[in-house]
Amino acid sequence: MKKFIALCALVLGFNANAALINLSLDNIDVNVGDEVTLTIEATGLVDIASFQFDLLFDASMFSYANDGMGNAFLDSSDLFGALSFGAFDNGTGLGFGFVDFMPLTGDVLVASIKFTALAAGSFDFGLANALFSNSSFEDVAVDLAQSVSVRANANAVPEPAAWALMLLALAGLTVARRKQVK
């Protein structure tokens, strides 16, 4: 990821101090049923009293821990102590909202969320509709990272006869890699 950040810094060299929301995945190639952790970080914040933004993804392709009423359970965040902070299903992914007495400054882990891939395919996570406000109610410019993608591979489910053949074939081999199915 650092390579990614450095790339961004190169591209936006003259804005090195602007606020930025960054996305990163811990795994970009998984099987269906596997988990990926998405991390959202905000850097370069100066006096942010409130913000809102959308995390766009196809919610039918991923599941995440929630309270059953659309409130996502975030795995970790620096903002749990705020007056009001949360991520909510809004039909386009998750909508994030934050407001607190103490404005944010510097770098902040907004959230890390564990998603479980539900289907095979290539899926994007993106950011949009960001509004950041300082304690004087002024809009603060924020750069949004480009979207990230994860590939979910379908799990092969062979015919029983073929499986038996495979076992036989492997019986003689000494190298066996076991896949864990989570």
């Binding site: 009293a49 409130s50 913000f51 809102q52 659309g70 409130n71 007056l83 009001s84 902070f85 949360g86 991520a87 909510f88 299903d89 809004n90 039909g91 386009t92 998750l94 909508g95 994030f96 909202g97 934050f98 407001v99 007495f101 509004l131 406000s133 304690s135 109610f137």
Partner: protein, 1004 residues
């Protein structure tokens, strides 16, 4: 003609007792515009009821051609006049003398150079004491008597400065045309016939006279007949007949009478030696008839001489061999038996040995031609239906007619009686009335109901009432009966009532009292079939339904008359027991049995009851307004010109309100009673004196009086800083300090469109913690003074100034919806006297602006706050903004005023000393002419800004709710656009944080 003027020297004048000149000291009794060349005589007749020492205190003026008073133009000379004198003031002398046969008392007085349409005013001590005619008029008046005369009805006057048409008899225009003198005129000026009596009933005068004397030739055929020429039966036991023989001065024979003699009947005393023909007619035989032609007779009552025949002491023959009948018209006896007697003075000689006339005295059929032409009962007569005709006026106008019909009612107060044709004599034409009023100009001697009478008189129209002016006493033709015609309202068409004029009618409906405006003034109320409503209260102006209802209303009314002429009756006889403050007759009350005769006076058909009508209090008073109780109550009341003088007991009469301190106190006590009973939290007032808010102001003293009655300083007034606008009256607002608080300042709108600027104030209800804005109004009235252009009457039923009222409505709503502080509060209530009925344009304009007519919603079609011309509707309104509408629980009109007779209000004018007390009570009823409107609200608590979860506070729960809704992209009410940038986003959550009630947005 003797007059009793005496010209006295100043010294004698000074020594004479000088009576205070009150309004009764000169009475104008007649005006004549003559037919001789030059329009003469032009004169007035004046009656002097009490001695006047110096007539120069009085004078005359005429207001020519309706141009207003010319003041006192002529002053009488300083002469003394005595009670009972008639004075004549004429424009010249010759014509008057030629016409009347005597000279006027005051000639060449230009002030009486009148033409029949000029009003006459009599002055004494500089004030008008009597009046004929209206001093100002725009078009030729109905009382004009060009070439005719007017004469005051006996026992009326003086009328002060007010012309009272019902106190005058009119000859009609041109009644004297072609006449050369009064004595021979067809309708002569009834000079010197005015009488003014006392309130005591006229004493019954007994008139027993000698009516016939028979002294037969040869034999003893002698008789003397007595006649009761009076109007009631005579007890004969007080009377004696005395015979003086051969010049003796002491009576030789005395007969004491006994028994009773009915009016118009004869009593025959015959000589026992008379032939059978005489004896058959004798009531008694007696030796008092032993006269021979030179013997004198006396009739005495209790020793007092009441009639005589002959000269006591004179023994010469004077009535021998003759049958003498006393002339018709002689009704008083010769009370001097000592003077010379000649029978030809008062008696007619029927001849010798004529006995056939005994037992009757004139008026009986006998083959003798009747002296008067009246004929006998059963002779031909004119049918009443022919006299009445199909139209308003009689086809036999000014002709003499004889009518034979049944007396249905006699009314001494109306100086006449009603007759109706027997069933057999009624025609089949429903358009011709079978009844007729017979005017006798006398309150005594009227025939009894249930009598068939034969009466002769002139057919006349008295202000469109067909009547017969009786020319001589009617004949009694026996008992008879007619059935009343059954009538129901509404009448079928405009001529239905005319077909009943003069007839006995009965109503089988229960009738509703729909107008009592003149109950105190004339003793009359209007009756209708059910309640009558203003057409534009129920239907759009100009619509077919409105026009149809207006037409229906004119057919759905008849007056209930008290049968007494004149105004301000001492006894208002309706309802049963007489009117008083505790015995009222409200519109909406009912008459459940009514039988009487239909009369027509002052352009109205009336029923004069022949049996006391039955009244039912179907619309009884209520002690307090009745409506569901919410958490806030608002009232609106027009207080009918509440002016308090200078606030320190002086300053009366006021410009528009009380004329005396006493009237003010009476008005104040009633108003305090009404306000206390309404028990409202906010009260809007109209027609309060526009004198600001100082300690002596009307509103300040009203509030002080209310609080004094309550025993606590509960109410306060909304202070707009000073007088509102420039009208003499203004709107105002009171509020209960224990239940509401003011929010912000009072606001007024001084836009020139308003006659009386509206006043708006925002309130917080302490109980509900809700807020609302009340705007109190008084739109321009419907009176036409000064109206021009579109404000003139458009003949659509809305009266004048409708255009102004619409503009006022539009300006009001624009103000409420755009003025910065007013428009913030969406709960707005418009109240006040808008001078527009429910369906009229101004109310429709308020509806178009989003304000709902609450009376229409909660009371409906039977709502009213005002009665005008016998029609009910509401000019007093309550309209709610759409936001407030859902919080309105109930609305009512408290009917304490519009239904009550105005004579029960605080005023003291036109009331006798007894009535000033009996017609007043310090209660709420008739405190005004408008009813109050009461609105009951269940006001919602005022929403707290930033309160997301509706628990009337702002804490972290609300912040979380907003953040969540923003993140979830939910539709959010713009009430949460707390920074008012047109969008709801996290910045508004930032603002919400600052609204939290507790630190850290803690939850309580």
């Amino acid at each position: 003609m003797k007059t009793k003027l005496t010209v006295l020297s100043a010294a004698i004048l000074a020594s004479m007792h000088s009576l205070p000149v009150a309004a009764n000291n000169l009475i104008l009794t007649g005006v004549i515009d003559g037919p001789l060349t030059g329009g003469v005589p032009k004169a007035i007749e004046i009656f002097v009821p009490q001695d006047i020492a110096d007539l120069s205190r009085c004078g005359v003026g005429s207001a020519n051609n309706g141009g207003g008073t010319d003041g006192q133009e002529y002053t009488f000379p300083a002469v003394a006049v005595s009670a009972g004198t008639f004075l004549y003031v004429a424009s010249e002398s010759t014509g008057f003398t030629n016409f009347f046969g005597f000279a006027p008392d005051f000639a060449n007085v230009s002030a009486v150079n009148v033409n029949g349409d000029d009003a006459i005013e009599l002055f004494c001590d500089g004030a008008v004491v009597d009046t004929f005619g209206e001093i100002s008029w725009a078009s030729s008046p109905s009382w004009a008597h060009t070439d005719g005369w007017v004469y005051r009805v006996s026992d009326t006057g003086a009328d002060g400065s007010e012309f009272v048409p019902s106190n005058w008899e009119f000859s009609g225009k041109d009644a004297l045309d072609g006449q050369t003198d009064n004595a021979s005129a067809v309708i002569p000026f009834p000079s010197k016939t005015f009488t003014i009596g006392t309130v005591d009933p006229e004493p019954v005068v007994e008139r027993l006279i000698f009516s016939e004397y028979v002294e037969g030739a040869g034999g003893n055929n002698k008789a003397i007949e007595l006649y009761n020429a009076g109007t009631s039966a005579i007890d004969l036991s007080s009377y004696q007949v005395l015979l003086y023989i051969n010049g003796s001065t002491t009576a030789g024979t005395t007969l004491s009478l006994s028994g009773s003699l009915e009016a118009g009947q004869t009593y025959v005393i015959a000589n026992s030696g008379s032939i059978q023909e005489i004896l058959d007619k004798a009531n008694i035989t007696s030796g008092v008839t032993n006269f021979n032609g030179n013997d004198v007779l006396e009739l005495r009552k209790d020793g007092e001489l009441v009639d005589s025949f002959g000269q006591v002491g004179n023994g010469a023959d004077f009535a021998k061999d003759v049958s003498l009948v006393r002339n018709q018209g002689i009704i008083t006896g010769d009370t001097d038996s000592s003077n010379a007697f000649s029978y030809s003075d008062e008696w007619t000689n029927l001849g010798t040995n004529v006995f056939s006339d005994l037992g009757r005295h004139h008026g009986d059929d006998s083959g003798e031609p009747p002296v008067s032409g009246l004929g006998q009962c059963g002779d031909s007569a004119t049918l009443i239906s022919a006299i009445q005709g199909e139209g308003d006026a009689s086809p036999l106008l000014n002709q003499s007619a004889i009518v034979e019909a049944v007396v249905t009612a006699s009314f001494p107060n109306l100086r006449g009686y009603f007759v109706q044709e027997e069933a057999a004599d009624q025609d089949a034409n429903g358009n011709t009335s079978e009844g007729l009023f017979v005017y006798t100009n006398s309150s005594t001697g009227l025939p009894v109901e249930g009598t068939l009478v034969r009466v002769m008189g002139n057919v006349a129209e008295f202000y469109n009432k067909t009547q017969l002016a009786q020319s001589e006493a009617a004949l009694d033709c026996g008992a008879a009966a007619v059935s009343p015609a059954v009538v129901s309202l509404p009448f079928a068409n405009a001529s239905s009532a005319e077909a009943l004029e003069g007839m006995l009618v009965t109503f089988e409906q229960n009738l509703t009292v729909t107008d009592n405006y003149n109950l105190g003034r004339y003793g009359e109320v209007t009756l209708s079939n059910g309640r009558v409503y203003i057409p534009t209260n129920l239907h759009l102006p100009g619509s077919a339904e409105a026009q149809a209802l207006a037409a229906q209303n004119t057919l759905n009314r008849i007056l209930l008359d008290d049968g007494v002429s004149g105004q301000n009756p001492v006894n208002v006889i309706y309802p049963t027991g007489g009117l008083s403050a505790s015995n009222t007759l409200r519109t909406g009350d009912m008459v459940t049995s009514l039988t009487g005769v239909v009369d027509y006076n002052f352009n109205e058909y009336r029923v004069v009851p022949t049996q006391a009508p039955t009244f039912v209090q179907a619309n009884a008073r209520t002690a307090a307004p009745e409506l569901a109780q919410g958490n806030l109550k608002i009232a609106s009341l027009n207080v009918l010109n509440f002016f308090n003088g200078d606030g320190q007991g002086g300053g009366f009469p006021t410009a528009r309100g009380a004329d005396t301190a006493q009237e003010y106190t009476r008005q104040l006590d009633k108003l305090v009673s009404a306000l206390v009973a309404m028990d409202a939290d906010i009260i809007g007032l109209m027609e309060i004196e526009n004198d600001g808010y100082g300690g002596n102001s009307a509103i300040a003293q009203l509030v002080a009086a209310v609080n004094a009655r309550l025993g606590e300083a509960r109410y306060a007034f909304v202070n707009a800083g000073g007088p509102i606008g420039t009208d003499a009256i203004a709107v105002g607002m009171l509020y209960d300090t224990t239940s509401v608080e003011l929010v912000g300042n009072a606001l007024i709108n001084t836009d020139a469109v308003f006659s009386r600027p509206p006043l708006a104030q925002r309130f917080l209800g302490k109980d509900s913690l809700g807020e609302l804005t009340v705007a109190v109004n008084h739109f321009k009235s419907k009176g036409c003074g000064g109206a021009s252009g579109a404000d003139q009457d458009q003949n659509d039923g809305q009266g004048c100034y409708n255009a102004s009222r619409v503009a006022q409505a539009q300006t009001l709503t624009a103000w409420l919806q755009s003025e910065p502080s007013l428009s913030k509060d969406k709960d707005q209530l418009i109240i006040g006297d808008l001078n527009a009925y429910a369906k009229e344009d101004p109310i429709m304009a308020l509806g178009s602006a989003g304000f709902t007519n609450l009376i229409s919603e909660f009371v409906g079609a039977t709502g009213y706050s005002y009665v005008f011309g016998g029609q009910a509707g509401y000019l007093d309104h309550a309209l709610a903004s759409s936001n407030l509408l859902a919080q309105v629980l109930d609305v009512t009109e408290w009917h304490i005023n519009a239904d009550e007779p105005r004579i029960l209000d605080y005023n003291t004018e036109f009331k006798s000393a007894t009535q000033v007390n009996d017609f007043y009570a310090p209660d709420a009823y008739r405190v005004s002419d408008h009813d109050p409107v009461i609105i009951s609200l269940q006001l919602n608590r005022e929403p707290v800004r930033g309160d997301w979860d509706g628990d009337y506070d702002v804490d972290r729960n609300d912040v979380n709710g907003l953040i969540r809704a923003i993140a979830k992209k939910e539709q959010i009410d713009m009430a949460f656009d707390l920074n008012e940038d047109g969008i709801v986003n996290v910045k508004d959550a930032q603002v919400m944080m600052s609204l939290c009630n507790l630190n850290g947005c803690r939850v309580l």
